[in-house]
Subunit: 376 residues, 2 copies
């Protein structure tokens, strides 16, 4: 795009809040340059519009870009090679209170390029997570990065932090999307984490540098987490948790939505269980189950969970029938076992000897019974 377009987008992003669907729609219809020019016209009809024009005339977008550059930030806009095409899906996504639309641009810090995030997966969840939740989030995030899928999260306390940490352990693309400026650290306790991600992967924000986080900006940020990702995994979420807002965006955007179950006695899993019950999210328990959902077709097929194979599984069918007829507790004589199995006495006797050799039955004073190994 032209420099004018980039400058107009910087100015408009200073004028408005992120995720104002109306601005996104006008930008799509008119282009950022024309919209900026129209809004900047000082000969406006209403006081509000005149106020907007005054505010726009007071901005210096070129200086903003320069200042961002000094902070190590670049401003990526539609048309740039780095623009992540998947966020354009937001053009068709809007909430009832008119939040939605693609961002005017994205401020990025770090070497990872946003056009390399097609396979990205968001791992999100409760801030007040349990150790169970953080362990699972870290483990799934690690498995994703190991399989080449960038991990996206919000750098919040709890699940978000665990997801970034789990992805760090494997060293792959690990993207934090913030509700404040990409130069700021919120929460401040994650200053080190964000500095590290900014050096090794990417920290992304829709709001201009220096902006503080607000509730409204969190809600808009959540739409970006969902839009940038091919799928979203909610690891823990209480009923009405903020993570469910990201989940709603994933659904609205036709992205895969997955939920990790937990103890039904844990309030932090309640919201996830509701998502699964409602059919909005599919249940996942391990990284390879997530890969089965978000991977390229047929690339990953999760093997169903398997118990270790048991000794009795290797028993041939004729002996299996006898084995099924041997009592579990008190021993039974061979003729009673033959009756139960509906087989001839001599065949049963031969079978029992083979089963004894395999350690599956034992001969007691009053007959045969199963060994503990057979009853595992």
């Amino acid at each position: 795009m032209t420099d004018d377009d980039r400058l107009a987008r910087v100015a408009l992003s200073r004028l408005t809040e992120p995720g104002e669907a109306k601005i996104a729609s006008l930008t799509a219809q008119l282009g950022a340059v024309r919209l900026h020019a129209l809004l900047s016209d000082p000969a406006q009809n209403t006081p509000e519009a005149r106020d907007v024009a005054t505010r726009l005339s007071g901005l210096d977008p070129a200086a903003e870009l320069e200042r961002g550059e000094r902070l190590g930030l670049r401003y990526v806009v539609p048309g740039d090679a780095e623009w992540p095409a998947q966020v354009d899906d937001l053009i068709r996504a809007e909430t009832l209170d008119h939040r939605g639309g693609p961002p005017l641009g994205l401020w990025v810090k770090g070497p990872t390029r946003l056009n390399d995030l097609e396979g990205a997966v968001a791992v999100v969840g409760a801030r007040s997570a349990t150790t169970y939740g953080t362990e699972v989030a870290a483990s799934i995030a690690g498995a994703l990065v190991r399989a080449g899928h960038p991990v996206v999260s919000g750098a919040a306390f709890g699940i978000d932090q665990a997801a970034h940490r789990g992805a760090l352990a494997v060293d792959g693309a690990n993207i934090a999307i913030l509700a404040c400026g990409a130069d700021r650290a919120y929460p401040t306790a994650h200053h080190e984490l964000l500095a590290h991600l900014g050096r090794t992967s990417a920290v992304v924000a829709e709001v201009p540098p220096g902006c503080a986080p607000t509730r409204g900006r969190f809600l808009s940020r959540n739409r970006l987490i969902a839009a940038l990702s091919r799928g979203t995994i909610v690891v823990e979420a209480a009923a009405r948790s903020g993570a469910l807002n990201t989940a709603n965006w994933a659904t609205r955007l036709n992205r895969h939505l997955m939920g990790v179950p937990g103890p039904v006695t844990s309030a932090q899993s309640q919201g996830v269980h509701e998502l699964i019950r409602a059919g909005a999210a599919s249940l996942v328990t391990r990284g390879d189950e997530v890969l089965e959902v978000v991977g390229d077709t047929g690339t990953h097929l999760a093997a169903p969970a398997r118990a270790p194979s048991r000794r009795r599984d290797t028993v041939p069918p004729r002996d299996q029938r006898v084995l099924d007829a041997v009592p579990l507790a008190r021993a039974a004589p061979v003729d009673s076992i033959a009756t139960t199995a509906g087989m001839a006495l001599l065949d049963v006797q031969a079978s029992l000897r083979r089963l004894m050799r395999d350690g599956l039955v034992e001969l007691m004073p009053h007959g045969w019974r199963l060994t503990p190994a057979a009853n595992e």
Copy 2:
């Protein structure tokens, strides 16, 4: 039915193992009396058939019934007023290894009548259950009985025992279905429990009194648990747990199948998660969610899990917009909040004062910020 029919069924049940689909099918086609007569004919063609005739001629079913009566057992057969019609669904259900079909009859101990079990729900699961699993099983079983639904289980260690215990706490129909004779206690540690259920509710077995439990009889018993119940809940089950066999029967019989999730790190929940992932079981977390599935239509509608309502939910829309624009951490001056909210300065000032009165924002030396209450 005639006494002849009952006597023929007693004899046939001594001759064969429970759940032999071939016998069930022949009984349905010929009637028990005629099948018994045919099999008893000493002029048979094959040695096996002559062996069967010999064995039948050695039985005294009238004495068996009398002996059962002395043990406090009654033998309920199709056509009796007490016959539970729902088990006849087994006529159309058979495994690949020819297990299936309705039982020839059921030995019952206890005051509960089997024809009163239409709303019964099976609560089953791992023998090696966790305390988490047993707590949830007991709680769900209690909720079911409280709502008038009989609880059915298998009196095994772990989840079964917890289900019976939970139902006992509320005092309602609480049915144990055994793989051994209804006069026996297996496991022996549950002698007291079974004696209590036999006095207050019902202990049921397909095999005649005195019979020992075998693996084959457990598999056949599982089909009865599923068939007697309107739905089956699997609370915990490792991959390939025996409880999954009952789950398969529930599916085969078009019964509701439900699963209680647990930590993904728990092997005891793996089998349940697989059932939910496969779409075989629906996820349930509480008694009222089970009632929603198994209750009569519209009787029970589980309220979705709810977080306690938050103070910020009661804020009127105009103040909500301002609240969304107030920073979470560092305070911001009123003009910056007005810009963020896109509202007039005076309106925002008035809003902030109302929000302060409600304890949602606070005025700091350098401006306004959210209180912890607003950020809950």
